[in-house]
Symmetry: C2
Subunit: 224 residues, 2 copies
């Protein structure tokens, strides 16, 4: 477990991130690799969700993971323990990843025989939403303790995400969290976003998330 | 309640933020106003902590609040309901406040007869830590659901804070959160940071936080 691969990703030299992101997306499509950019606040449960997702889907999809953090490699160790290919990206203090930083990660990770790659972005509801990473789709996790008003305060994050996972539903009774209100607040920002309540810890609701992933990966491969 | 003052703060024109921050800090010291920069992830309980703090201290200290958000004014409405002066700062999509943006807010808020001013920063554990706002001190809230490993992943935030409030201790039994481990992780980043466990919802542990605030304000006024 000591041979964690840590990549110090450098700030992009490209001045047109959107164009670079589109290029990366096309390359991934040709290779048949669906890349999901997974975003959230710190501590919303991104890594736990990934661990459980790998357990559930590793027999049917070939999965690889890039863990981005400003520092530490604790998440990569957790994901490696699940038996999939994983690398750690260090952003050198940067609060987000752009397409070129993502490309540096993809190059190190490799996409040979990878159906589904995850980019676990830096924990932050603001900056990561501003940069297209070149991923095939964007997902975010909002955990119940964070509150149902977050789409009002962090509009762009909700606008750019294709799916919003509402995690930690097991602690719903202990927080003032109104799922219907959250759905309305998400719809204000992004009427097309799917909202899927899950509990990565207990497994409740995860099947709907797996179904979403399966459908996305299948459609991506068909469009190649 | 409809006359919420919303200030659209502009990106700073100063290229030396640290010097500008020092200047603002000096000005605030001369006026006898202690400004606390309160940071955290989205949904950690900044506003609830402020509400309860105002209730507890409004009889002994003259308090005013600046609420910074990318969008919305829900927090300012909550604070105004507590009967103190408060304004909303909108950052125009920016993920943090710098010293000049803080100064724009202070100008609108006014510091006449204000002993203790709060800047509730944008919910983000990354970028706000990089910019000295000119505040007298920095505080952060880490809520129990976020996990005890956060100082490992967001080192700068813990390094720049004088006090770390560990909020939502009432839900400790439902999460894998080790307070001793958190203390050790904070000490790795900042051995001088005080760690105060609180529950803003129930009031538990808040007295230690009030004591810290009282001591800070008194020392600030003495140093003027």
């Amino acid at each position: 477990m000591d041979e964690i691969r840590v990549i110090e990703v450098k700030r992009s030299v490209f001045d047109n991130n959107d164009r670079d992101a589109d290029r990366l997306r096309s390359e991934l499509r040709e290779r048949g690799t669906f890349l999901l950019n997974l975003m959230s606040s710190p501590g919303s449960g991104k890594t736990t969700t990934l661990e459980r997702t790998i357990e559930a889907l590793a027999d049917e999809l070939r999965i690889a993971v890039m863990e981005a953090d400003i520092d530490s490699d604790v998440d990569t160790r957790r994901v490696l323990a699940k038996g999939v290919r994983a690398i750690q990206l260090h952003t050198g203090g940067m609060c987000h990843l752009d397409a070129d930083m993502c490309r540096q990660g993809i190059r190190e990770l490799g996409t040979d025989e990878v159906d589904l790659a995850f980019l676990e972005n830096v924990g932050n509801l603001v900056c990561p939403a501003e940069f297209d990473t070149g991923a095939s789709a964007n997902a975010m996790i909002l955990s119940v303790p964070e509150g149902d008003d977050k789409p009002l305060k962090y509009p762009l994050m909700f606008k750019v995400c294709d799916v919003v996972l509402v995690n930690k539903t097991d602690v719903m009774p202990y927080f003032d969290f109104d799922l219907q209100k959250l759905r309305e607040n998400v719809a204000l920002r992004n009427p097309n976003a799917q909202v899927i309540p899950i509990c990565a810890k207990t497994g409740e609701g995860m099947e709907a998330w797996y179904e979403w992933l399966r459908a996305q990966v299948a459609a991506w491969k068909q469009s190649a």
